[in-house]
């Protein structure tokens, strides 16, 4: 703030000719308005003139739109304009019919969101029933889930995680904002507890019995 203290720096910055912050805010507004997909600060800055501070401009913009009919929302590490939730009723005409998800798909999605990264075997253990290929495929196709890193356990099973599209669809800033996630974790319901008596070492990939797994340590966050 105090220019006197760092005259060198200020002089150097001015060489970049970054537009005033109000102008930068207009730019971020225009860019965010123009797109459907959320945009990261990095992308914003790559499109703005050199020396712009996308994050600061965005912060100003967010403030300006507080309480308006549209808002600046965070989706993962990206940002987008979205209509205010209380005005959804005005947009009936814009409503897109989403394919109705089966109960299995909804549960599978919730399990992936709350337990991610999670393997298919773990999903099956939680649901107590096998997960059909079609269910996973449907969620992948909707781009609500994607493959995560492989588990470093025998067979190196793939894991599933939710996508930014998922966050965007459900209006979540990130997976930590999932409804009730804190309470569930506190209640220990996001752990995979081993079946008593099952040996941690002789855990096998095929979980034909309900809950033979011991992968507690694998469930990060």
């Amino acid at each position: 703030m105090n220019d006197e203290s760092e005259p060198e720096l200020v002089r150097e910055e001015s060489l970049f000719d970054a537009p005033p912050i109000a102008e930068q805010e207009r730019m971020v507004e225009a860019i965010l308005f123009a797109t459907v997909e959320p945009i990261t600060i990095r992308e914003l800055e790559s499109r703005m003139p050199h020396g712009c501070d996308g994050a600061e401009a965005l912060a100003h913009l967010r403030k300006r739109y507080e309480g308006r009919g549209v808002r600046v929302v965070r989706v993962g590490d990206a940002w987008a304009f979205r209509t205010a939730p209380d005005l959804g009723f005005l947009m009936r005409k814009e409503t897109v019919e989403t394919r109705k998800l089966s109960r299995a798909a909804i549960e599978t999605l919730a399990i992936i969101a709350y337990h991610q990264p999670v393997t298919r075997a773990e999903i099956e253990e939680i649901r107590g029933v096998s997960v059909s290929r079609g269910t996973i495929d449907q969620l992948l196709e909707m781009e609500w889930i994607r493959l995560g890193r492989r588990r470093m356990t025998p067979g190196r099973p793939v894991t599933f995680v939710v996508t930014p599209n998922f966050l965007d669809h459900f209006g979540l800033e990130n997976a930590r904002d999932l409804p009730g996630v804190k309470e569930l974790r506190a209640a220990g319901l996001l752990e995979s507890r081993p079946m008593p008596g099952s040996d941690a070492d002789d855990e096998d990939e095929d979980d034909d019995d309900i809950g033979g797994e011991d992968q507690t340590e694998l469930f990060e966050d």
């Binding site: 459907v36 304009f81 979205r82 209509t83 205010a84 959804g88 897109v96 409804p179 209640a187």
Partner: protein
């Protein structure tokens, strides 16, 4: 309905009977034994953490018995669960056997209760998730997005050397010509093919491939190599066309060819 008649003898109260009936009738609608257990546990009307697993096990076993009586085919995992619950039931009822290691009935029961609670928690979470304000239903994205025009500026690079070499290439095209004469000792596959086509009519018996080399190409090693390769390639081509047969008795043995009798 049939089921109603069958349950008439039961001494259960109406509510339980209806619940049990619904279970039987909808057995297809269940998503596995854990789902059935969760549904059964609701009849206990207590917090899942305080559920009586023993009662639940009994209820489940009754459910399986009834399904059997009704000749409803239960999937294997329902029966596996029944067997496990029968085992759990006996563990819970009998005093612990000090000589046996392994988990106690209580530990197993606690684990089952945990699984049920976790499944229920996930179902509740799923419901809360689906009830959120959703994009395209309650919250909307920009309807008229303005496309970002991708302006691709292509800069072409060329150096002075490129330029001069290009010019040199054109100016000295004649000087390159003698280079083509290097192909003197190259026998092309096309040439070999043409030659072979004329000769195979006579190849009734197995003949060494090398005997098909053109005259004067056998002595100079460079020429021989090229002619052999071309002739071999041409032979393969003719085999492909169904005109020739090739054989080689062992590795590095002479390759022999003859005309195919039943020429395609």
């Amino acid at each position: 309905m049939m089921t109603e008649d069958l349950f008439k003898d039961d001494k259960q109260n109406v509510e339980d009977r209806l619940a049990a009936e619904a279970l039987i009738v909808d057995v297809d609608g269940f998503e596995g034994p854990l789902d059935v257990l969760l549904t059964l546990s609701r009849t206990q009307k207590v917090d899942l953490r305080r559920i009586s697993v023993l009662d639940l096990a009994k209820q489940y076993l009754t459910f399986v018995e009834k399904a059997k009586a009704l000749r409803i085919e239960l999937a294997a995992d329902y029966l596996v669960m029944a067997a496990w619950l029968a085992f759990l039931k006996s563990r819970l009822l009998l005093p612990p056997d000090p000589t046996e290691d392994g988990p106690t009935g209580e530990e197993l029961a606690a684990h089952l209760a945990f699984q049920l609670e976790r499944l229920q928690a996930m179902r509740d979470a799923a419901a809360r998730l689906m009830a959120r304000d959703r994009l395209g239903r309650d919250i909307f994205a920009r309807g008229l997005p303005e496309d970002v025009t991708r302006v691709r500026t292509v800069t072409y690079s060329a150096t002075l050397l490129d330029l001069m070499q290009a010019y040199a290439r054109i100016r000295t095209r004649d000087e390159f010509r003698p280079f083509v004469m290097d192909r003197d000792s190259v026998f092309t596959m096309e040439q070999a093919l043409e030659r072979m086509r004329g000769l195979i009519g006579f190849a009734g018996t197995w003949t060494d491939l090398t005997s098909y080399l053109p005259d004067g190409w056998g002595s100079d090693p460079v020429k021989r190599r090229s002619a052999t390769a071309a002739t071999f390639a041409a032979s393969l081509e003719l085999v492909k066309e169904g005109k020739l047969e090739l054989r080689q008795n062992e590795t590095f043995a002479p390759i022999e060819l003859r005309r195919r009798k039943d020429e395609r």
